[in-house]
Symmetry: D2
Subunit: 101 residues, 4 copies
């Protein structure tokens, strides 16, 4: 994710800097809400009104990742590091499970 | 909340019944996302575009309550009962804290 | 909801007052997340770990309503008024649909 | 993100495959809720109980990205493509704004 974090940082520097954590979090909730709407449109009961936008699932996901990167960058968090740590935990948990059998 | 649950039930009976729990939950997320947007508009850094709707915080809250009641009704959950139980727990927790001093 | 809003207000006065809107919103997200976990436990693929709490859907809903009432009270929002306005809009929309046929 | 999407895919193949979209979305809400709790702990009014876990913001973010990748993979969505499209849109919007002045 290092490349993506850099891209967002470059853009943000030219556009007023990062918001405060609670404001970015509220924005994240807004973006997750838009993804939820698309999931209901695509896999659920809600018909799309023709007046509503044409955004796809992938677009909403990109918005969520952008917002998350803003929060990470504003707190100097290296997402690759934490992602690797999480995958490592998942994998070693599976190995433990295997040994016990 | 009994009166509100009844109102929603009457309306829903005439309008196709309740969605499945996961679909109502996704709708709830969508409504919470809209509330988050209003909170950022009103108390945070995000300027409202003139093309965006005029909904107030109270309107978004009513939408959240409606969606929550749909989920409760679809599962025959009596919200008054659970609300009273929660308040009781809060209050008795405070009393315990007091006694210990 | 007037009675519920009063109960929450009485309790909050004795417990340090309301948080700022963004903080209450973050708490709301936390509670909605807990409801989402219960929905996945009850209707979805996720097995509950035995170490996890015993909260029911109704308990999580009560927590959401409590948090929402905190936000409403802190902004002097009368939830009954907005709920009535929303139901009125739903019902009149249905009538219009009917007339057009 | 291609590398991350591959890692998640490899792990998921050995662990029962992807859930349905609505279930992954509910999980995403749960993870966002946990991030919200950490934001309130770190920047807001909520004191952490000593019994609560030690997860950091970065850990919660990694969980959100993992869940999002599960949804993307289950729908064969190439996140790099959508992220690039979004950045492109942001940047060209800024250029337009500049030209108009």
């Amino acid at each position: 994710m290092k490349g993506l974090q850099k891209q967002v940082d470059d853009w943000t520097k030219d556009n007023g800097g990062y918001w405060k954590p609670h404001a970015i979090l509220a924005r994240l909730m807004e973006e997750v809400g838009e993804l939820a709407r698309e999931v209901n449109h695509k896999f659920g009961p809600k018909k799309k009104k023709s007046t509503e936008g044409e955004k796809e699932l992938g677009d909403e996901m990109a918005d969520i990742i952008f917002t998350l990167i803003c929060l990470a960058n504003s707190q100097k968090i290296d997402l690759d590091k934490y992602f690797a740590k999480m995958m490592q935990k998942l994998i070693s948990r599976d190995k433990d499970r295997w040994k016990k059998k």
